[in-house]
Amino acid sequence: MSKINLSVNLCGIQLTNPTILASGILGTTKALLKRVAENGAGAVTIKSISVESREGHKNPTVITFEAGMLNAVGYSNPGVDAAAREFTNLQDVGVPVIASVIGTQKEDFVRVVDGLSAQRFSAIEIPLSCPHTPGFGLLAGQGTPQATFDITSAVRKVTKLPIFVKLSPNIPEICTIAKAAEDAGADAITAVNSMGPGMIINIESQKPILSFKAGGVTGDALRPIAVRCVYDLYKAIKIPIIGVGGISTGRHAIEMIMAGASAIGIGTGVYSRGIDVFRKVCEEISLWMQENGFDSIKSMVGAAHD
């Protein structure tokens, strides 16, 4: 590794580098979070947790295509009580751990945040944007400015931790929603969740492959959309942005940072480049910064704006 300093301060959380494991990828157990941290992530996010346990959709739940991934996992998770037992002594992970909290109504978000409050999470992320799970996110009307304001306000009342509100790329008025989150006390915006939903049909059997038929699109196909969302958000809000969507190389990460992201999330990149994608991306960022005369991540944030 070179001497370039990649550290960032995200809402008061000190990260050794700007790469964050996105929610829903490998964040099922503390052991896996630790493994991802050992592979270079600056912070990690757990897989989203609801009040009750959920089995999720049947398989196939995750498939890939030429330009990314299609998933409809359906928020399988063991529920808040089991999650509180799983994610104890989080200092063992070695990097800050972000809790991802979901609910079908604002009271659920509050209950999950409460239920996890004894564990050492560094921030709470609330995705209001899943496109493929009935009862949650977009399919529950959580992607409107009003719902975003209400849910964020409710969570704000019960935690002092930084709150990241995670938004969908589908919604044209993403900036209005982000402002509603900001007004309700959110500390950062995570942009974006998967887009779509999309569908892939197997033509021999004449059936959609995912058991839920439709699923969220992530990976390369999502990147230009995610970059544009982050670019627009950077102009519209004052709180920091975590840019997520299609990042698997240092160049992608820098592009997202220049659009306005203070840190970046990686999900599908774990598939395309392996579990050590975090270390690889950091090395590539360092090298590029060295060659191009940048000495901090901060100096690149929003660089693409006029």
Binding site: L26, T28, N59, P60, F65, V73, S211
Partner: protein
């Protein structure tokens, strides 16, 4: 690579025992013993199975009838299609010129079958020998009766071969002969004991683990066993790796992500 099922036509079906059928497909898979594929029935589900036969352009999966999905496979006829994606995971690493013992419990034998074929092919007869132990509850459950050269049987009820467990039989054999390597697949309690025994005797050992599989390619985190992803880091783990995996033999994770005692 693109992770999507390809539809393959069932071209033959063979009954291995009252509960186990092998389904053959004409497929060109670059399969290594120990790996697995995901089998898809449209609109129903998709589950992991190992390839249990590789014959020229034919591959087979041997399926034990258990629940909804395996019953649905058993009801398929020649000419019906199943979706296959993979192969996935890290296979066995062969130690050819040595005496090895392959220990299979129940349907675990299916995951070892192509390994035995491969070992028999590569082991130089003057320098090594392959012993197979197959354990079942009762004689009727024994599969691949005539398939392997040196297969020792054991049953819990004594209706075929040695009366007792595969572990008892392995212990017995170890009194008389020496193995350099043991390969095993079966119920995790059995695997745990085989690993213990190999540890005591200083024998190399590789184990095929099972956990609930969703994606199969290392992203969803469903198949965790103490920080190892069974689908991509495994399913084959060696004795040194297993010694660092606290969940081995103790804890498994259900499809909700809850930890349960094995």
């Amino acid at each position: 690579m693109i992770e999507q099922p390809m539809m393959a036509k069932i071209c033959d079906i063979q009954e291995e025992s009252p509960g186990v059928k092998t389904f053959f497909f004409k497929l060109n898979l670059n399969f290594e013993p120990g790996q697995f594929v995901m089998v898809w029935i449209p609109l129903l589900d998709e589950k992991p199975f190992t390839i249990s036969y590789i014959q020229k352009d034919l591959v087979g999966i041997s399926v034990l009838k258990r629940g909804v999905f395996t019953n649905a496979i058993h009801s398929k006829k020649i000419g019906d299609m199943l979706g296959i994606r993979g192969p996935y995971g890290r296979g066995f690493s062969l130690k050819p010129d040595s005496n090895s013992c392959v220990v299979g419990g129940g349907i675990g034998m299916a995951s070892l079958a192509t390994l035995v074929d491969r070992l028999n092919l590569v082991v130089d007869k003057r320098r090594g020998h392959v012993t197979v132990i197959q354990g079942a509850r009762t004689a009727a459950e024994i599969i691949y009766q005539k398939r392997f050269r040196d297969m020792k049987l054991c049953t819990e009820d004594g209706t075929a071969g040695f009366r007792g467990t595969t572990v008892d039989l392995l212990k017995d054999l170890l009194k008389k002969q020496r193995f350099q390597k043991v390969y095993t697949c079966g119920p995790e309690k059995m695997l745990y004991k085989v690993v213990e025994l190999c540890g005591e005797h200083g024998i190399e050992c590789e184990v095929s683990l099972e956990r609930y599989i969703k994606c199969g390619f290392g992203v969803c985190g469903q198949c965790d066993c103490s920080g190892q992803r069974v689908c991509i880091d495994g399913p084959i783990f060696n004795i040194q790796e297993l010694s660092r995996m606290e969940d081995f033999g103790k804890i498994t994770i259900t499809k909700t992500g809850a930890r349960v005692i094995h």
